[in-house]
């Protein structure tokens, strides 16, 4: 399995970064966090999302990731293996270890904190969990509803929307990530889309990695003689998975495998979503002063009521910013300062 390492050439704190659904170690939010912390003297390792083909193939014992308690267990093993490798082969010297998770990575991180508090095999001293989904059923339904807008728009308009959005983003590929003017220009470009069009684009972005995950998850269980021979065959099967949604994936592929993992587990997706949310571990999180959670009151994948309930349960270790949507304020100076401060890093101002 591939990870990325940004290292210092001296003993330094090490930060594991786990971004959101389907993220990989080479692109996206993880690379931004790596940039932010590496210049503050941290070693940074970016992990692939458990909901990526990379992790499903190499580290997920069920082969069907998406159930946070099981994914966190697999992550925990991966992180131990990674630390051994870093210390023995790469001679990376760590002074302490932190974890930063975003979105689904934050939910996985919450479960990770429970495991490490019990087993102490890694000894993570600080967790920062950004915008974890608090009610997975709600988040899944939202994304599915946004995805369904594609039927309303029709195939051609949907394809044109995605192409237009990608073209806009592409023009920003070499811009600075600490300049509010750059984000202002981007938002001006996206103001030309309707609310529904943006919802559809967000659903598409969240599901980008799903076809490859579906392919790997199916193929792991295929009898050897049904596995594809050529790259073309593999590509055709990935294309066939293009229309699969999260709910399809979970109901058809994942839930049957999750149920085999242990007795007494739920029987349907809603049950797994409830059991894999934050609610069942709130007591452990409350008892663990290493865990810090940041949310935005207007997060589009979380209800305000569930954020209030989280605050009531965890008190001052939950910080809620009034705006930012889902992770949309990570680049904003108040937020970067807060992130750095949580891990004891200096200011960027």
């Amino acid at each position: 399995m591939s990870l990325t390492l940004y290292r210092q050439h001296r003993p330094a704190p090490l930060l594991f970064v786990l971004a959101g659904i389907g993220s990989n170690p080479y692109f996206g939010l993880g690379t931004y966090v790596a940039w932010l912390f590496h210049r503050q003297g941290f070693h940074v390792v970016i992990l692939p999302s458990p909901m990526s083909w990379n992790f499903a193939l190499a580290a997920s014992r069920s082969g069907a990731p998406g159930y946070a308690p099981a994914d966190a267990r697999d992550l925990y093993q991966t992180m131990q293996d990674t630390l051994t490798l870093l210390r023995t082969r790469y001679h990376v010297a760590t002074t302490r270890i932190g974890f930063l998770g975003a979105s689904l990575g934050a939910l996985d991180g919450a479960y990770l904190s429970v495991i490490d508090a019990q087993e102490r095999k890694i000894g993570i001293d600080t967790y920062l969990l950004l915008n974890p989904p608090l009610d997975l059923n709600y988040a899944l339904e939202r994304v599915d509803a946004w995805n369904a807008l594609g039927a309303k728009f029709g195939r051609d308009r949907s394809k044109a929307l995605v192409a237009r959005a990608l073209a806009i983003v592409d023009t920003f590929s070499t811009e600075r990530r600490d300049d509010p003017a750059v984000f202002a220009r981007l938002s001006r470009e996206f103001k030309t889309f309707t609310r529904e069009e943006i919802q559809f684009l967000l659903a598409k972005a969240l599901q980008t990695a799903l076809p490859e995950l579906v392919y790997v998850t199916e193929t792991i269980e295929d009898p050897a003689d049904r596995r594809p021979i050529t790259k073309d065959e593999a590509r055709q099967r990935i294309q066939a998975a293009n229309r699969v949604t999260f709910v399809d994936y979970a109901q058809r592929l994942a839930v049957p495998r999750w149920r085999k993992q242990a007795v007494g587990l739920p029987t349907d997706l809603q049950g797994f979503a409830r059991q894999g949310s934050l609610t069942p571990i709130l007591e452990q999180l409350r008892a663990n002063p290493r865990v810090h959670i940041v949310h935005n009151a207007d997060d589009i994948l979380t209800t305000r009521q569930s954020i209030r309930a989280l605050q009531q349960a965890l008190g001052p270790r939950v910080v809620v910013f009034p705006y930012g949507g889902h992770l949309g304020n990570l680049w904003y100076s108040d937020n970067t300062e807060y992130m750095l401060r949580t891990f004891g890093a200096g200011s960027t101002r």
């Binding site: 390492l5 983003v169 202002a184």
Partner: protein
Amino acid sequence: MQLISDSRRVPVGGRKQELRLPGCVVRSPLSLWSAIVWSAIVLCLSPSLVQAEEYRYPYRDPYLATVTTAILSADGMTPHLKREAIHVPVLAGRSHLRRSKDGVP
């Protein structure tokens, strides 16, 4: 910075001596005092909300805000930041997913 949210602000406005709380108007000094005490208690119990007026994040539309994450991969500042690919051993039996051309896995 970690103080209160928009919804907990208690704006004083309109006619004199009127304290407007969501859903009620308080006029007597005793009621006013009790409202202030209760507001203070609410604020003290909720120390982890960032005060909206102090937080100058520019986007009030949460969808537009979310879209801004799309350019966090931009590497204009980090062309020379060195990263290394680390390969961690995979689970047994997962090293390949294709069968060979003679059909042997």
